[in-house]
Every structure is written in structure tokens, then in C-alpha cells.
Amino acid sequence: MEYHKGMMKTYLFENLRFLMQHHLFEKITIKQICDQTGVIRATFYNYFDDKYDCLNAIVYHDFVENSHAYLEADQFPEIIGQILQVVEDNRDFYRVAYSVSGQNSFEDMVRANLAILFKEYFVRYRRPGYLEQYSNDLLSRYYAECVAFDLRTFVFRTDGTFSVKDTRQMVLDLATNSLSNFTRKN
């Protein structure tokens, strides 16, 4: 039953992902998502409150759910690599999705889901006793903001110079180096 529920949720948001590549998000209706999936409105509302909630589920799936195995194994570089690979595979969708702005902007969804991921990471692997005045919440939001910036840059790059591997290295370099590493020491 749980498996079936999970599958239905996936069908719904994957169909929204498909629809977004052919229609403006603002013009997509719940009926269209339901028709594409072959379900009735009540089924959609069983899983999502609205289409923004459905869009958020795509980001959660791509960034958080897909990274779970790497998170369990404490493989941070692989988490970043996985996220970049998903974005690369669905670049058309991500380009369109970033145009969703306003109160429920896509960029906010990206930040929020990256923050969830980072928070889980800090809860599991944070070094005890190190700068404890900074909460996991603050750290996860800070790093989510940074990675969200890198992701946006990656999605809209047009020159083709940055591969997934290069971008992964860039994210890791920027995330693991402090400001002092980039400046001249006295």
C-alpha cells in the first residue's frame, strides 16, 4: 500500500515535470496534471495541496531522496555530484522551473530542500564542540544558499565549459575553503 502511494506521488510529480517542458507553469492546471496521470482531482489532493507543492516534491525527490544512500554513507562529494547529475539530465526542466517566481518561487524551493539535506548532514556528522554557537539550522541555511547559487549558475551556463565533474569540484572547493584561504595572509 505504502509502495503504491509512493508510486502515485511519483507519477503525479513526474507528469508535472513533463508538462512543464511543454507549457508555462502558470498555465498548468491541476486538471492537466490529473489527466496526464489518469487520476481524478481527489487523488491529486491526497498527495499535494496545490501545483507548487507538487513542484516542491520534484526538488525534494531530486535533491533529498536521491541523496539518501550517500548521506547514510557520509559521502558528501557524491551527494553534490548526484544533485548536479540530476540537474544535468533534466536541464530543460530546471531552466523552465527557475522562471517560477513570486511567493512560491522555485529558487526558494531549491534553497529549502538543500537546507533539509544539509541539516540532516549536520545532525549526523557535525564535529562536536566546534563553533557550537552556530546552530545546525543556521549552518544548513548558509550552505544551502551557497550551493543554490552554484546550482543556478550551473543550470544557466551556456558556454559548455563546466561539466558535472568540474562544477562538483567548484562546489566542494567553495564549500570547504574559508574566506581566509582566498586572501593574502599577513
Binding site: 492546471t29 491541476i30 486538471k31 482531482r41 481527489a42 489532493y45 491526497n46 499535494f48 496545490d50 501545483k51
Partner: protein, 189 residues
């Protein structure tokens, strides 16, 4: 004013409630026949009550003004309601379909009461235009009940689409007939 004109004017007005309930239909998770009928009954009751209040108000006013003035006032009021419906339809174009977990009978009554204010004014107008109270109540009962049922069904199955078109059509219907009645019964006679 004949019954066909009254029906068309009321149809124009009921498109306001139609839009409101179509939006609700698009926001409800499980719309059963029982739920639809209950919401339609609540809405109809509010509308019938508004017509009754409208007629009561009109009886107080009738002694003070002549028949011709009554018709003019009624037509201008219908014209104004029509303009209000069109303005509302043009302004409220943005609607996001979102699950409304809290919608219940109390909320439905609140919505009905808000949209019935127009019906109250229309009740006054109908009385001024010589429509019998029984006819007005029957009209309001049937039209509102059917409109709300259709609106909920369309909203649930199709989503809240074409709301601007419905709103403008309703408003236009009222404006056209208010002008027609004004010319036919107040100016030309």
C-alpha cells in the same frame, strides 16, 4: 417585465455565485453528491432569504415613490450590479487551485451570505418591476440550486476555468436587460 427577462437577469446574477462555487469545487478534495446537495441547499436558502428581505424593503419604499420612478431605480440598480460583476470578473483573474481543508457548511453559508447581498438588491428591483413574490422566490430557488450544483461539478471536474468569461457574461446580461427594461417600460411609455 415578463418572466423570461426576469429569468435572464437572475441568470446573470447567479453567475457570480457560480464563479465562487466553481472555485470552491476546484479546491475540495472529495466532492460527493451529498456534499454538493448540502452546499446547494445552504446557498439557495441564503438567496431565498435575501429575496424575501429585498421584497420586505421594497414594500416600505413603495408608498413614497411613483411606479415610473420605481422602474427607473430598479433598472439603475440592476445596471449597477451588472457593472460591479464585470469589474469583479476583470479584477479577480488570478486564482490558484489549492486544497481547502477547512471548507465546511459554516464557510459555505458565509460565502452565500456575501454573494446574496446582490440578490437582496435584485429582490428590491424585482418587486419594483412587478414580479410577484412567489415567482421571485421560485426563480431564486430553482436558479440558485441548479447553478450551484453545476458550478461545484464543473469546478471539481474541470477546475476553475473561464471565470472571467462567466463573470463578464453575467454582468453584460444584467446591463443589457436593465437598459432594455428602462427604455421599454420607463422611457418609451
Amino acid at each position: 417585465m415578463n418572466m423570461t427577462q426576469a429569468v435572464l437577469i437572475f441568470l446573470g446574477l447567479s453567475l457570480d455565485g457560480f464563479i465562487v462555487m466553481m472555485k470552491k469545487g476546484a479546491s475540495i478534495r472529495g466532492l460527493t453528491i451529498k456534499n454538493s446537495l448540502t452546499y446547494a441547499v445552504v446557498y439557495t436558502a441564503a438567496d431565498v432569504l435575501a429575496v424575501l428581505i429585498g421584497y420586505s424593503i421594497s414594500y416600505f419604499l413603495k408608498g413614497f415613490i411613483s411606479n415610473r420612478i420605481e422602474v427607473v431605480i430598479a433598472c439603475l440598480a440592476i445596471f449597477a450590479i451588472g457593472c460591479y460583476l464585470i469589474t469583479k470578473a476583470v479584477r479577480d483573474t488570478k486564482f490558484e487551485e489549492k486544497l481547502d481543508k477547512t471548507f465546511n457548511l459554516k464557510q459555505c453559508f458565509g460565502l452565500a451570505a456575501a454573494t446574496s447581498l446582490d440578490t437582496l438588491f435584485l429582490g428590491v428591483c424585482f418587486s419594483f418591476l412587478g414580479i410577484a413574490l412567489g415567482q421571485a422566490i421560485a426563480l431564486s430557488f430553482v436558479m440558485t440550486f441548479v447553478t450551484i450544483l453545476i458550478a461545484l461539478s464543473i469546478g471539481y471536474t474541470q477546475g476553475a476555468r473561464y471565470q472571467t468569461v462567466f463573470g463578464i457574461s453575467g454582468g453584460c446580461l444584467m446591463i443589457i436587460f436593465s437598459l432594455y427594461i428602462l427604455f421599454a417600460y420607463a422611457i418609451m411609455r
